[in-house]
Amino acid sequence: MSGTMKETAADTRPDGVGTKRRRSNSGQLPPGATQAVPKRPRVSAATLGIPLAYLAVTVFGVWWIDIRPAAVAAGFGDIARLLERMVPPTTGPFPDLLALTLETLWIAVAGTGLATIASVFLAAAASRHFTGPRVVRWLAQGIIIVTRAVPSLIFAILFVRIFGLGPLAGGLAIAFHSIGMVGKMMADVFEEQAPSPREAIASVGANRLQNFVSTTLTRALPAVTSLVIYRLDINVRASAILGLVGAGGIGVALQTAIGSLNYRRAAGIILVIVCLLLILELVAYLVQRAVAEHADEHTQSQLHVAGAAQADPGWNRSRVLRTAAAVSALMLFLFSLSQLSLNPARLGQAWDNAAALLSGFVPPVFTEQILLGIFESVIMAFTATFFGVLLGLIIAVLSTRHLIRFEPLSLTLRAVVVFMRGIPDIVYALIFVAALGLGPFAGFLALSISCTALASKFFTDSLQNVDPAPLRALEATGAGRVQVFVSGVWPQFVPSFIGNSLFTSDLALRESAVLGIVGAGGIGFLLDESVATLNYQQTAGILIGLIVVVVALESVARWARRKVI
């Protein structure tokens, strides 16, 4: 099989970490030893070209959006008057709100869990290291891209036809849209791994499944758990979509409160959501510590102690804790599935209903408006990403231990980021509309804030997962913190920095529905409009446009990863 040959060839290249370590060492040589210094590695086209491309789009975007910082200052009074109407927050009867929160949480857990299970298989097949048939790999990559590009709104209207009104349609809509992100990021994690353990296990005769479980999946576990908990966080926040399937919940309550200008109740609901997100963040942090192979200082595998037999892992307190946590997560997931209330009687007519709906989507219609909407959204998403990535990088560096080791600062920053995330885009949009009036500038600011929250989350996670061995080695040679960061942390961080920046644009593109709230158009507004007026042929055109853009972004990201990993 030619595919297998190629994979093996790719795997036997010197791995990324090794290359970078050599590079960092060369940087540590005394200045006099010029003869021994090897030539500086050439800067890759991806590390230079992608940031430059972003800069170019941003310069255009700044002109196109007509950014006028002075206008924000002039609108402070209006912002203050709006914020005054949000305090003091009220929650209404608290038990009711709590019930809504739990309802939402169960649906989100079920959806995220289903997506995770599907994603493990899809990501394994979509990863560059997959050695099976190429067709399977392409298929897996296709599913991941399409589920990501298609907004959950579309899955919701489809599943409500199939399964009827209720939590099941909502849970599945969440699950399908989540596959796109969880699957993609999981595949990235698999690809970033060093190939040596995999080769070692393969050379002793393990088959593909054994190899995957024992090397790839176990090593990916810390990153995967934090990814899954983050997606749960997104799904709780995005739960307004459940209103479209008659499932209710806290997102719908928030949407209704904002729609009826009851901002004090909206603020109360947002506070409850923020508390939930803080709990999830804490869980993510604890889980990450418990399953990370080299949590903080230890650089070797600390996951298992020796057991009775030589090759058996033994039990110690942390393994018991890990297992208990895994079992309770599984129980939670199973319980949440039982909350979805499947009605098998409905499935009889499911196919006819779905076919009737889907036949309305063909033939897709493209209009000039759709092209313009995509253009607007892409420009806004890229420009917002540029600023979001800069701010997010600063926040991430300050909230990890690499440069500044001041615990209160990093904890505060993490809480601030969670708070930023907990406030829905529409609230930012309203605040900026009050200050600036309707138009792209207000939308751009709202989108930049969500990009900052996204980017700082991604960057913090990958800065934390940096392999500490090279850093300790550098420290041993007497390198200062900045030197360690520049030559130890940064080279390891570059692949995920570029990948996650592109992915932030990808997510921002889908969040550009917020532009509709401020009258800045964009593809999200057209999509909502086409669905609300049942113009499904136009919806299909928009979806195809979205898929094309997401595929393009994904191709750039893949090309960049090949260059830098």
């Binding site: 050439r42 890759s44 086209a45 230079l48 070209g49 430059l52 491309a53 170019a56 789009v57 310069v59 255009f60 700044v62 002109w63 196109w64 959006i65 007509d66 002039a74 209006d78 008057r81 709006l82 109407r85 209404g92 209207i157 409500v160 036809r161 009827g164 009104l165 209720g166 209103g243 479209l244 008659g246 209710g248 719908v252 209704t256 904002i258 729609g259 009826s260 200008l261 009851n262 409905r346 007519q349 309305g360 529409i426 309203l430 509309v433 009036g437 309707l438 138009g439 792209p440 509709g516 709230i517 401020v518 009258g519 158009g521 507004f525 409009e529 609300a532 007026t533 049942l534 113009n535």
Partner: protein, 330 residues
């Protein structure tokens, strides 16, 4: 690598050049709203209502009329959220707006605005009013409103006057509590409420009348005889056009005159929509048959008629009857 580097640099340079020459398409005069004395331009915001399509396009003739009458450049902003427009009005950054009657009820509490006009479907006064309909699958046991007691009832969403509030007021009027005497299900949109009622997820659906009479049949989602109407609400006022009181009085008069002066046909004759004309609609009567007309607003109205605050009193009454959560904003 060199090649791609050059391409990128070229692109960067090109975009810089582009930026250097010419104003942004989104640039606007600095003094949009905010100041009460003689604004240099106007902002007209529109929110999609239940049956609007091609929102921006359909308001262009009206904006053309306003520009002609006032001499001020006017921008249209199509906005997906009523809260977005209302907050912009509260900050005096939107001068004229159209949105649903319930949004006007919410807006009057926070923004200094007055309705000047409301849409008219036909030449008859008050023809812009809409109704909420209660529908059941053809042949169902439910024959009148009282029969819905104890049933699963699909509504649109709690903040929709045609999809919930009017029906809730109707239920209260016959002594049924819309929270406890029925099992309410909020389907999120009018079309989903109807299709899921037909699929058996609920026994009766309350939705905006135009979905039953025009929109869903036109899209082939329901056919003649699929549904029986068991209840029709009293008239709910149509789409108001609302103006900011911070504008100088003569300007407000000019805008009102501009909107009321034309109907869809005379607007076409006055050349307000040279590129986007359609034939007059049948309900407009013989007088206009065969003449060309403009798209006059998002609902495809015939004209606008003068309106005052009093025309929207029925929304306040519905709110007082239902004491709905969405009606209270403190």
């Amino acid at each position: 690598m060199h090649k791609s580097f050059k391409t990128v640099t070229a692109l960067a340079a090109a975009s810089l050049l582009l930026t250097a020459c010419g104003a942004s398409p989104n640039a606007r005069p600095a003094s949009t709203g905010g100041s009460s004395d003689a604004p240099q331009s106007l902002v007209f915001a529109v929110v999609p209502t239940d049956n609007s399509k091609e929102l921006e396009e359909s308001f262009k003739p009206i904006v053309a009329a306003i520009e002609k009458e006032t001499g001020l450049p006017t921008t249209i902003e199509a906005v997906s959220s009523n809260a977005g427009v209302i907050e912009a009005q509260a900050a005096e950054r939107v001068d004229v707006a159209t949105y649903g009657a319930f949004s006007y009820y919410l807006a009057q509490n926070v923004a200094d605005v007055t309705p000047i006009a409301m849409d008219q479907r036909t030449p008859a006064a008050g023809s812009g009013a809409v109704q909420s309909l209660g529908v059941v699958a053809a042949g169902a046991d439910i024959k009148e409103l009282a029969d819905v007691e104890g049933k699963d009832v699909c509504f649109t969403d709690p903040a929709s006057s045609t999809g919930y509030l009017a029906a809730a007021a109707g239920l209260i009027a016959i002594g049924l509590d819309p929270k406890n005497d029925i099992n309410p299900i909020f389907a999120g949109s009018h079309d989903v409420a109807v299709t899921q009622m037909l699929a058996g997820d609920c026994d009766v659906a309350f939705v905006a009348g135009t979905f039953i009479t025009d929109l869903l049949p036109a899209r082939g989602v329901i056919k003649d005889g699929d549904v029986d109407t068991i209840w029709t609400s009293p008239d709910i006022p149509g789409t108001p056009m609302v103006i900011g009181n911070w504008l100088p009085e003569d300007l407000r008069t000019q805008i009102t005159d501009a909107v009321l002066k034309y109907n869809a046909v005379t607007a076409a004759e006055a050349g307000l929509c040279p590129e986007n004309q359609r034939e007059s609609l049948a309900p407009w009567g013989n007088e206009y048959a065969g003449k060309m007309a403009c798209q006059w607003g998002g609902t495809g109205a015939f004209a606008f008629e003068p309106a005052t605050e009093e025309d929207f009193a029925s929304i306040r009454e519905i709110c007082e009857t239902t004491q709905a959560e969405v009606c209270r904003n403190e």
